[in-house]
Protein backbone atom coordinates (compact mmCIF):
# COMPACT_ATOMS: atom_id res chain seq x y z
CA UNK A 1 0.00 0.00 0.00
CA UNK A 2 0.92 3.64 -0.16
CA UNK A 3 3.61 4.65 2.33
CA UNK A 4 5.06 7.93 3.46
CA UNK A 5 8.50 7.80 5.03
CA UNK A 6 9.86 10.67 7.09
CA UNK A 7 13.40 11.27 8.30
CA UNK A 8 15.03 11.81 10.65
CA UNK A 9 13.00 10.39 13.52
CA UNK A 10 14.67 12.68 16.06
CA UNK A 11 16.76 15.82 15.83
CA UNK A 12 18.46 17.73 18.62
CA UNK A 13 19.72 21.20 17.73
CA UNK A 14 21.16 24.18 19.53
CA UNK A 15 18.89 27.21 19.54
CA UNK A 16 19.70 29.28 16.47
CA UNK A 17 20.68 26.32 14.30
CA UNK A 18 18.66 25.30 11.27
CA UNK A 19 16.52 22.16 11.05
CA UNK A 20 15.15 20.14 8.15
CA UNK A 21 12.82 17.15 7.97
CA UNK A 22 12.23 15.16 4.80
CA UNK A 23 9.26 13.23 3.59
CA UNK A 24 9.17 10.64 0.79
CA UNK A 25 6.19 8.88 -0.69
CA UNK A 26 6.16 5.55 -2.52
CA UNK A 27 3.58 6.98 -4.95
CA UNK A 28 2.70 10.34 -6.48
CA UNK A 29 0.70 12.55 -4.17
CA UNK A 30 -2.09 14.94 -5.09
CA UNK A 31 -1.12 17.18 -2.19
CA UNK A 32 0.88 17.14 1.00
CA UNK A 33 0.13 18.65 4.38
CA UNK A 34 2.32 19.40 7.36
CA UNK A 35 1.24 19.25 10.99
CA UNK A 36 2.94 20.17 14.25
CA UNK A 37 2.32 18.42 17.55
CA UNK A 38 3.60 20.15 20.66
CA UNK A 39 4.60 17.92 23.60
CA UNK A 40 1.41 16.72 25.29
CA UNK A 41 -0.73 18.20 22.54
CA UNK A 42 -2.42 17.07 19.38
CA UNK A 43 -1.41 17.60 15.74
CA UNK A 44 -2.24 21.03 14.37
CA UNK A 45 -2.34 21.85 10.68
CA UNK A 46 0.46 24.07 9.37
CA UNK A 47 0.18 24.14 5.59
CA UNK A 48 -0.88 22.33 2.42
CA UNK A 49 1.14 22.14 -0.81
CA UNK A 50 -0.57 21.16 -4.05
CA UNK A 51 1.53 22.16 -7.05
CA UNK A 52 4.63 20.44 -8.35
CA UNK A 53 7.73 22.34 -7.17
CA UNK A 54 5.70 24.56 -4.87
CA UNK A 55 7.50 26.49 -2.15
CA UNK A 56 5.69 28.23 0.68
CA UNK A 57 7.02 30.20 3.63
CA UNK A 58 5.63 30.90 7.05
CA UNK A 59 8.03 33.22 8.86
CA UNK A 60 11.08 31.00 9.59
CA UNK A 61 9.46 27.86 8.13
CA UNK A 62 9.95 26.94 4.46
CA UNK A 63 7.94 24.11 2.90
CA UNK A 64 8.75 22.50 -0.44
CA UNK A 65 6.90 20.00 -2.63
CA UNK A 66 9.06 18.07 -5.07
CA UNK A 67 8.77 18.31 -8.84
CA UNK A 68 7.57 14.72 -9.06
CA UNK A 69 5.13 15.27 -6.17
CA UNK A 70 6.64 12.35 -4.29
CA UNK A 71 8.70 14.20 -1.71
CA UNK A 72 8.54 17.22 0.51
CA UNK A 73 10.61 19.03 3.09
CA UNK A 74 10.18 21.43 5.97
CA UNK A 75 13.08 23.70 6.83
CA UNK A 76 13.22 25.88 9.94
CA UNK A 77 15.75 28.70 9.95
CA UNK A 78 17.32 29.73 13.27
CA UNK A 79 15.32 27.44 15.53
CA UNK A 80 13.78 28.73 18.74
CA UNK A 81 12.61 26.82 21.81
CA UNK A 82 9.04 27.39 20.67
CA UNK A 83 9.75 25.16 17.66
CA UNK A 84 9.99 22.09 19.91
CA UNK A 85 7.58 19.34 18.95
CA UNK A 86 6.92 16.60 16.43
CA UNK A 87 6.43 17.53 12.79
CA UNK A 88 4.37 15.24 10.58
CA UNK A 89 3.95 15.24 6.86
CA UNK A 90 0.75 13.74 5.50
CA UNK A 91 0.07 12.87 1.91
CA UNK A 92 -3.13 12.57 -0.02
CA UNK A 93 -3.11 10.05 -2.84
CA UNK A 94 -3.90 10.75 -6.46
CA UNK A 95 -6.94 8.51 -6.41
CA UNK A 96 -9.11 11.45 -5.44
CA UNK A 97 -10.19 10.01 -2.09
CA UNK A 98 -12.26 12.38 -0.04
CA UNK A 99 -9.90 13.22 2.74
CA UNK A 100 -7.85 10.24 3.82
CA UNK A 101 -4.24 11.12 4.62
CA UNK A 102 -1.21 8.90 4.97
CA UNK A 103 0.98 10.25 7.76
CA UNK A 104 4.74 9.96 8.00
CA UNK A 105 6.27 8.70 11.23
CA UNK A 106 7.08 12.24 12.33
CA UNK A 107 10.30 14.03 13.25
CA UNK A 108 10.67 15.07 16.86
CA UNK A 109 12.65 18.27 17.28
CA UNK A 110 14.40 19.18 20.52
CA UNK A 111 15.96 22.63 20.82
CA UNK A 112 18.59 23.34 23.46
CA UNK A 113 18.50 26.93 24.72
Amino acid sequence: GQQVMQIPQYQHVQEGEDFTTYCNSSTTLSNIQWYKQRPGGHPVFLIQLVKSGEVKKQKRLTFQFGEAKKNSSLHITATQTTDVGTYFCAGSGSSGNTGKLIFGQGTTLQVKP
Partner: protein, 117 residues
Protein backbone atom coordinates in the same frame (compact mmCIF):
# COMPACT_ATOMS: atom_id res chain seq x y z
CA UNK B 1 -13.79 28.15 16.39
CA UNK B 2 -13.28 24.57 15.29
CA UNK B 3 -13.69 21.99 18.00
CA UNK B 4 -13.19 18.25 18.25
CA UNK B 5 -13.73 16.73 21.67
CA UNK B 6 -12.99 13.26 22.98
CA UNK B 7 -14.79 11.71 25.90
CA UNK B 8 -11.76 11.01 28.08
CA UNK B 9 -8.17 12.21 28.26
CA UNK B 10 -7.01 9.16 30.22
CA UNK B 11 -8.55 5.73 30.52
CA UNK B 12 -7.48 2.57 32.35
CA UNK B 13 -9.16 -0.70 31.43
CA UNK B 14 -8.58 -4.38 32.07
CA UNK B 15 -7.85 -7.02 29.45
CA UNK B 16 -11.06 -8.35 27.95
CA UNK B 17 -13.17 -5.29 28.75
CA UNK B 18 -15.25 -3.61 26.07
CA UNK B 19 -14.06 -0.03 25.62
CA UNK B 20 -15.88 2.87 24.01
CA UNK B 21 -14.04 6.00 22.87
CA UNK B 22 -16.29 8.84 21.82
CA UNK B 23 -15.48 11.74 19.53
CA UNK B 24 -17.68 14.74 18.77
CA UNK B 25 -17.08 17.56 16.29
CA UNK B 26 -19.05 20.77 15.95
CA UNK B 27 -17.94 21.77 12.45
CA UNK B 28 -20.52 19.82 10.43
CA UNK B 29 -17.68 17.85 8.84
CA UNK B 30 -18.51 14.81 6.75
CA UNK B 31 -15.21 12.98 7.33
CA UNK B 32 -14.16 11.60 10.66
CA UNK B 33 -11.11 9.50 11.51
CA UNK B 34 -9.68 7.41 14.30
CA UNK B 35 -5.90 7.06 14.62
CA UNK B 36 -3.61 5.51 17.12
CA UNK B 37 -0.26 7.09 17.87
CA UNK B 38 2.69 5.08 19.10
CA UNK B 39 6.33 6.21 19.49
CA UNK B 40 8.27 5.80 16.26
CA UNK B 41 5.20 4.73 14.30
CA UNK B 42 3.50 8.07 13.78
CA UNK B 43 -0.25 8.21 13.24
CA UNK B 44 -1.82 5.03 11.97
CA UNK B 45 -5.36 5.09 10.64
CA UNK B 46 -7.74 2.62 12.27
CA UNK B 47 -11.07 3.52 10.63
CA UNK B 48 -12.62 6.46 8.91
CA UNK B 49 -16.11 7.54 7.96
CA UNK B 50 -17.22 9.89 5.21
CA UNK B 51 -20.90 9.94 6.08
CA UNK B 52 -23.40 8.80 8.66
CA UNK B 53 -23.49 5.00 8.91
CA UNK B 54 -20.60 4.76 6.40
CA UNK B 55 -17.22 3.41 7.46
CA UNK B 56 -14.05 2.19 5.85
CA UNK B 57 -11.15 0.26 7.29
CA UNK B 58 -7.87 2.01 7.66
CA UNK B 59 -4.46 0.42 7.95
CA UNK B 60 -4.90 -1.32 11.32
CA UNK B 61 -8.60 -2.15 11.88
CA UNK B 62 -8.08 -5.52 13.59
CA UNK B 63 -9.52 -5.57 17.10
CA UNK B 64 -11.54 -2.39 16.55
CA UNK B 65 -14.96 -1.42 15.29
CA UNK B 66 -16.65 1.95 14.82
CA UNK B 67 -20.06 3.50 14.86
CA UNK B 68 -21.36 6.67 13.20
CA UNK B 69 -25.04 7.09 13.93
CA UNK B 70 -24.95 10.89 13.84
CA UNK B 71 -22.88 13.20 11.70
CA UNK B 72 -21.16 14.86 14.63
CA UNK B 73 -20.26 11.71 16.54
CA UNK B 74 -17.81 8.92 15.73
CA UNK B 75 -17.22 6.14 18.23
CA UNK B 76 -14.32 3.71 18.39
CA UNK B 77 -15.03 0.37 20.06
CA UNK B 78 -12.53 -2.12 21.39
CA UNK B 79 -14.61 -5.29 21.61
CA UNK B 80 -12.19 -7.05 23.97
CA UNK B 81 -9.32 -4.85 25.04
CA UNK B 82 -5.82 -6.31 24.94
CA UNK B 83 -2.55 -4.98 26.31
CA UNK B 84 -1.23 -4.30 22.80
CA UNK B 85 -4.02 -1.75 22.39
CA UNK B 86 -2.43 0.47 25.03
CA UNK B 87 -1.84 3.65 23.07
CA UNK B 88 -2.82 7.24 22.41
CA UNK B 89 -6.02 7.44 20.36
CA UNK B 90 -6.67 10.53 18.28
CA UNK B 91 -9.89 11.47 16.57
CA UNK B 92 -9.98 13.92 13.66
CA UNK B 93 -12.50 15.42 11.28
CA UNK B 94 -12.36 17.17 7.92
CA UNK B 95 -14.57 18.48 5.15
CA UNK B 96 -15.59 16.21 2.30
CA UNK B 97 -14.27 17.33 -1.06
CA UNK B 98 -13.49 15.66 -4.38
CA UNK B 99 -11.31 18.58 -5.40
CA UNK B 100 -7.64 17.69 -5.08
CA UNK B 101 -6.73 21.32 -4.54
CA UNK B 102 -9.28 21.88 -1.80
CA UNK B 103 -7.72 22.21 1.59
CA UNK B 104 -8.66 19.06 3.50
CA UNK B 105 -7.29 20.04 6.85
CA UNK B 106 -7.82 17.49 9.54
CA UNK B 107 -8.77 18.88 12.92
CA UNK B 108 -7.72 16.72 15.82
CA UNK B 109 -9.17 16.17 19.24
CA UNK B 110 -6.97 16.27 22.36
CA UNK B 111 -6.50 12.49 22.36
CA UNK B 112 -7.32 9.67 24.77
CA UNK B 113 -4.42 7.88 26.41
CA UNK B 114 -5.61 4.32 27.00
CA UNK B 115 -3.85 1.90 29.28
CA UNK B 116 -4.96 -1.74 29.17
CA UNK B 117 -3.80 -3.79 32.14
Amino acid sequence: DVKVTQSSRYLVKRTGEKVFLECVQDMDHENMFWYRQDPGLGLRLIYFSYDVKMKEKGDIPEGYSVSREKKERFSLILESASTNQTSMYLCASSLYSLSRGQKKTQYFGPGTRLLVL
